[in-house]
């Protein structure tokens, strides 16, 4: 009997700890969040009343501070609250930048390229303004990580204080050599000059002998300041050839420049 009793206690205790452990595991993994929410809905009003009762009681008998001291304390706490809110916002920004950097690491860009993250502050039709800690970014290429291999956003025109002005390829007068690749097999089809026309882009100086197809990829052909192969957009409407040896086409943007939030400047390629 004694042995049977011991065994019963053993199995009872074992069941108890297993059950408690399962609940602990479930709650640690957020599976029982609804139970907490329900319990808090039920108990918070009571706890608030109790706390208020305590505060009122202490206010009469325990809290000897003058109203000036309380006001001073409130001001201190408000300042502290503002500081903490600022820190929380900063953490949010850092988290987002970190996520973008992780995405960048997973993108199909060469491993030896180096980047510096920039956060967009203002966005006009053909210009993007970002925060910039470094001064030696002028003329560098800026990309976005929206696409698999990085998308060309523009080039840093100048640094004013801690702000970088980036000219987008749509800016009137912006010109750069580009290549056109087949949308399916990636084979080079043509080369030309991409010209910004104030909010839109036109592919110009493509030899009439070279074939252009709608939705073909327009990528950078590479020069001193721009790496080769960055996607800029897709061939849109092919314009009729009037005279001469060149043909033209509209180019559709690969990304919406107005939606840009965090971009990356290529510091080395």
């Amino acid at each position: 009997m004694r042995s049977a009793g011991k065994r019963f206690i053993y199995y009872l205790s074992l069941s108890y700890f297993i059950f408690a452990g399962v609940i602990l595991w479930g709650d640690s993994h957020g599976r029982l969040e609804k139970l907490h929410i329900l319990a808090q809905k039920a108990t918070t009003p009571v706890e608030e009343r109790l706390f208020r009762a305590k505060t009122v009681t202490l206010g009469r008998f325990g809290d000897k501070r003058t109203s000036e001291e309380k006001d001073k304390r409130i001001s201190e706490l408000e300042v502290r609250s503002a500081q903490l809110e600022g820190q929380i916002a900063q953490f949010g920004v850092l988290k987002e930048e970190n996520e973008r950097m992780l995405y960048l690491l997973g993108a199909g860009l060469p491993a030896n390229w180096k980047f510096e993250p920039l956060r967009a502050t203002q966005n006009y039709t053909d210009r993007l303004y970002t925060s910039a800690e470094l001064q030696e970014l002028q003329g560098k290429t800026v990309i976005s990580t929206e696409g698999k291999d990085g998308i060309y956003v523009g080039r840093v025109e100048k640094i004013i204080g801690n702000q970088a002005e980036i000219f987008l390829p749509t800016k009137d007068g912006e010109r750069m050599p580009v290549k056109v690749r087949d949308k399916d097999i990636g084979e080079a089809r043509a080369s030309g000059i991409l010209v910004g026309r104030g909010g839109r882009m036109v592919l110009d100086q493509v030899l009439t002998g070279e074939s252009l197809k709608s939705q073909d990829l327009v990528v950078t052909s590479g020069d001193e300041s721009r790496p080769n192969g960055l996607l800029i957009g897709r061939v849109g409407k092919i314009l009729p050839v009037s005279a001469g040896a060149f043909q033209q086409a509209e180019v559709e943007q690969a990304i919406d420049y107005k939606q840009l939030d965090v971009v990356f400047v290529i510091t080395k390629f």
């Binding site: 004694r2 009793g5 011991k6 206690i9 009872l12 205790s13 108890y16 700890f17 059950f19 408690a20 452990g21 399962v22 609940i23 602990l24 595991w25 479930g26 709650d27 640690s28 029982l32 139970l35 907490h36 319990a39 808090q40 108990t43 009571v46 706890e47 608030e48 109790l50 706390f51 009762a53 305590k54």
Partner: protein
């Protein structure tokens, strides 16, 4: 103490602990009272079920990780169960166990040892067993 009183007191003190008094305070005494007065200090299904539910009540009301308090209560009950008659006759031992429950719960859930609360709980438990409790020690400890 009857099991239902233990549960009612668990709800009552879980609500008080935090808004009015320290978040860990009296649970050590409650567990000791429950174990000491149930079926000659033997652990049984009802006692364990009460401890488990009591722990869940504390965790739910105080919004701490569910199951943690039940685990602490369960371990305490086992310690008390296996201490035997000699340990149970010592009133200071009950006080020490009650304090320990408070300290462990405080440290695990709030990373604070709550020395003052633990000391008060220990003294209250000692006083209870010394002067109030009328249980006999002839119960068979198995």
């Amino acid at each position: 103490m009857k099991n239902k009183y233990f549960l009612v007191l668990s709800i009552f003190f879980a609500l008080l602990q935090g808004p009015l008094i320290s978040p860990v305070f009296i649970e050590g005494l409650l567990v000791s009272m429950l174990i000491s007065t149930n079926t000659e200090m033997r652990i049984n299904t009802k006692v364990l079920a009460s401890l488990f539910l009591g722990g869940l009540i504390f965790d739910l009301v105080q919004d701490t990780t569910l199951g943690m308090t039940s685990l602490i209560f369960g371990i305490s009950a086992l310690i008390l169960h296996y201490m035997g008659k000699s340990g149970l006759k010592n009133h200071a031992f009950w006080g020490a166990v009650a304090s320990l429950i408070t300290i462990i719960r405080g440290y695990v859930l709030w990373q604070d040892l709550f020395w003052v609360s633990a000391a008060v709980c220990g003294i209250l438990t000692f006083v209870y067993f010394k002067f109030v409790w009328q249980g006999n020690y002839s119960g068979k400890i198995t």
